[in-house]
Amino acid sequence: MRIIFQIAVAAFLSLAVSFSAHAAELRDLVNSLGEGGYKDTEAQIAAIAATGDPAAAPVLEAFEAGAVYVRKSDGLVFITEKVGRTFKLIDPLTGEIVEEDVASGAIEKVRVNNRLRRAVRSALGALTLMSPDATTRREAAAATFQSADPDSIELIETALAAEKDVAIAKLLREARAAAVLKSDRPDEEKVEAVTVIAERGDRDSLSLLLPLTAIEGPIGTSAASAVSTINSQLALWDGAQNVWYGISLGSVLLLAAIGLAITFGVMGVINMAHGEMVMLGAYTTFVVQELIRNNAPWMFDSSLFIAVPLAFLVAGAVGVAIERGIIRFLYGRPLETLLATWGISLMLQQAVRTIFGPTNRQVGTPSWMSGYFDIGLVQITYNRLAIVIFSLIVFFLLMVVLKRTPFGLKMRAVTQNRPMASAMGIRTPWVDALTFGLGSGIAGMAGVALSQIDNVSPNLGQSYIIDSFMVVVFGGVGNLWGTLVGALTLGIANKFLEPYAGAVLGKILVLVFIILFIQKRPRGLFALRGRAVEA
């Protein structure tokens, strides 16, 4: 205990002085480890700790592990690594390999016992807990919380007293409380510690508190109530995480389905090749990235900005071609259109399979979309966030196009009354072709987004086509809001069922639900009413 106190005081003092600690001085101190016996080693460790220099950490860690040796020839101290029967000598401060194949006779171990080990641990803690660098301090505080060593309570308190950063101070308090719980401190202190841990409220807290619930008395009861509070909080956070996953899935469904809603709503055409439009967009992304990888790798981060409009054009062009080439001959025959577009989908899949091969292709994520952040206990990855935002932008752009542009006006006219629109001079064939192109183009953009979270293969379209149909059928035709609500609802419903029923059963339940829902509202959530529609 005393030795720890000494070290703590030394460290505290050193805070005022530490910044002038020279590396050379540190080296001398390290080399001094080779001299003298246990008692001297204690003082030497204290001195090293007092420097407050983080460079001293590796040698202290090595010392604790019993890997610090003195070279007999010159008395210099090294960190060693045993390789077979010989040793590698490593510079204690720089980490460089100084000598290899050293026989055990040429070096002498700097001996360590448990008392010294404790001292070293505290010294290490002091080095890091009071390091000038905030990140180091935070990591040290978190590590101390995890280790919850009762011996380090005083050390923590010292660091706490000096800590100015609020977040780190909180961590230190929690670390202290964790250590208290494992110590022999009186019950009132422990109950107080329970409160501190309970406030932290995460899974680590749970694991700390659960064993305590069996103890009789105030500790047990407070731990038990804390545990139940934390559990309900965790459940809420889990729910929130699922909601987030649901929103993410919903945004993907929205992108995939909205093109379908347009072609079905405006033209009454069920496009079974819609999934392949998505697939084409994903492959466009792949091609763009390949070109960039091979020719201009520095442009990788903006690859998606190039891929999105390109995918729109590619898929849109294919869509217009399909409409002009095949679908326009099948108007008024929705079931035939369904079959013909299915044929197109087969051909497109096989074409892509022939050109690119049947296996998955690699599509990378730009750096600005990698990584994640946390809101409370909910983890939000940037790529999914980007997709959610993207899908909302696309949705609102589409609304604007439909409601405020002349083209949108013509599209709506043709939806509501084709012969009348034609009689008024609207060139319905053009509107049809462009509408189909628009719907397909959006699907292409969806493909770009999907390439970031799913495998790119010729079968990509098939995995989304049924879901897209479900969204359109559920949300109702003729209203974009229906698609939005439908997509989000189905996405969230899917993700909520998953933890209880598994992914497959969850999907089955959603499908069954839709089949039953259709019984009540055969035309979907946001159906168009009126005599013309009933027909």
């Binding site: 079905f264 069920i270 079974m272 095949i326 001959f329 099948l330 025959r333 929705p334 079931l335 035939e336 259109t337 369904l338 079959l339 013909a340 299915w342 044929g343 197109i344 989908s345 087969l346 051909m347 899949q349 096989q350 074409a351 022939t354 098939q462 049924i466 149909f469 479900m470 059928v473 497959v504 059963l505 999907k507 089955i508 499908l511 069954v512 839709i514 089949i515 039953l516 259709i518 019984q519 009540k520 055969p522």
Partner: protein
């Protein structure tokens, strides 16, 4: 129904179809079993189950043609009923393996031993008996169809919405059957069958018998469908197809009619599946794939859905083409060809092969009969109006 059937005349064409099928049921087995291999008329061993497979597909296509051509219900999920019937037969065949399986368990099929299951699940009880299994072949698809149809038709889901929902149905079943813990073989399915009704399933005689059974089943199903279409029930179906609303306003409970024909069609599909499985030797969840159900619709479209014989012709033609393509050098192009077939048929051959032929025939006979058309009384039901449309059952 029988009375109308006979009264509407022993129309030449349906007798022809049935005769051909029954003749095939006899001739092919004979040519396979009782002629020498060197004989030019000999039917090789591999061809028997292959053509038998075509026939079971033809039955499946007929079931779809019945409800699509004559009631306007386009099912994109009939593969599910086919697969369910197939699984029922497969379960019977698995039980027949007994101790001859890899693990030698007299009761539990291999895959259950492999999964460490202690005992046979309840769903498998009774499948060691052929009559029970056959009952299930018809009952399980029928029950599913009944429940599904009850919900769908009552809520007046029609057209493309209904087609999409049938896709969802088969998709959900596929997901379920792929799961190992459902107890039906998981993604490996049921296979390694040894014998059926005591006969070695791979013996030429058994295969010939299965072939004959398929041909006879098809013939019987065809006659049954003809009889249905000729009856008043059939006329109501056609009315529903053309003007569903009007039929309602006449007082017909449209949802009940649809439910009856839909369930019947599902049972037919189940029987087709049961004939299919012993001839190909395996049933796996891939049969539930939505793509399969859509593909079988093109069989019907190619043949022509305005006539009952159309789906039969279409199924045989397309599957023959598939075999021809996929066993030759053109194998990678099969999907192009199939896709192209979908497009070509809908654009250029909307009535299918048989439908177009029948139309041509009808136009010919109309010209011949135009002289007596003055009074407006046509000598038979065969005349079509100048628009070129046919009264479907009359032209058979």
């Amino acid at each position: 129904m029988i009375a109308t059937f006979i009264r509407n005349g022993i129309d030449r064409s349906w007798v022809l179809v049935v005769a051909i099928l029954l003749a095939t049921a006899v001739i092919v087995p004979v040519l396979n079993l009782y002629t020498a291999a060197s004989n030019p008329l000999h039917v090789p061993d591999y061809a028997v189950p292959l053509v038998g497979k075509y026939l079971s597909f033809a039955l499946l296509a007929l079931s779809v043609g019945l409800i699509w051509g004559f009631c306007g219900i386009l099912s994109l999920g009939h593969g599910a009923f086919f697969a369910l019937g197939g699984y029922a037969m497969g379960m019977y065949l698995m039980r027949q393996i007994g101790s001859r399986g890899v693990y030698g368990d007299p009761v539990l099929p291999d895959f259950m031993v492999f999964l460490n299951w202690p005992e046979l699940p309840v769903a498998w009880y009774g499948f060691q008996y052929f009559p029970y299994a056959m009952l299930m072949v018809v009952l399980v698809p029928g029950a599913l169809a009944f429940v599904f149809g009850w919900f769908a038709f009552r809520s007046r889901v029609t057209g493309v919405y209904l087609s999409i929902i049938t896709q969802a149905m088969t998709f959900a079943l596929m997901l379920g059957f792929f799961r190992n813990n459902l107890g039906f073989g998981g993604n490996n399915g049921l296979t390694d069958f040894k014998d059926i009704l005591g006969f070695n399933i791979q013996a030429p005689e058994t295969r010939a018998a299965l072939f004959a059974a398929s041909a006879v089943a098809l013939a019987l199903a065809y006659m049954m469908c003809k009889a249905i279409i000729a009856s008043r029930f059939g006329k109501v179906l056609i009315a529903i197809r053309d003007a569903e609303s009007r039929a309602r306003f006449l007082g017909y409970r449209v949802e009940n009619y649809k439910l009856v024909v839909w369930t019947l069609s599902a049972c037919m599909a189940g029987i087709a599946g049961a004939l299919y499985v012993p001839q190909v030797g395996i049933i796996n969840p891939g049969e539930f794939e939505p793509a399969n159900s859509i593909e079988l619709v093109v069989w019907v479209a190619v043949g022509g859905r305005s006539l009952l014989v159309g789906p039969i012709v279409g199924a045989i033609v397309v599957n023959f083409a598939k075999t021809w393509f996929t066993t030759g050098a053109l194998a990678p192009y099969w999907l192009f060809a199939l896709g192209g077939l979908f497009i070509a048929v809908t654009l250029f051959l909307p009535k299918g092969i048989v439908g177009t032929l029948a139309e041509g025939w009808s136009a010919l006979s109309q010209r011949r009969a135009s002289a007596s058309a003055e009074s407006g009384i046509a000598p038979s039901n065969r005349d079509g109006p100048p628009g070129g449309r046919l009264s479907p059952e009359a032209a058979e």
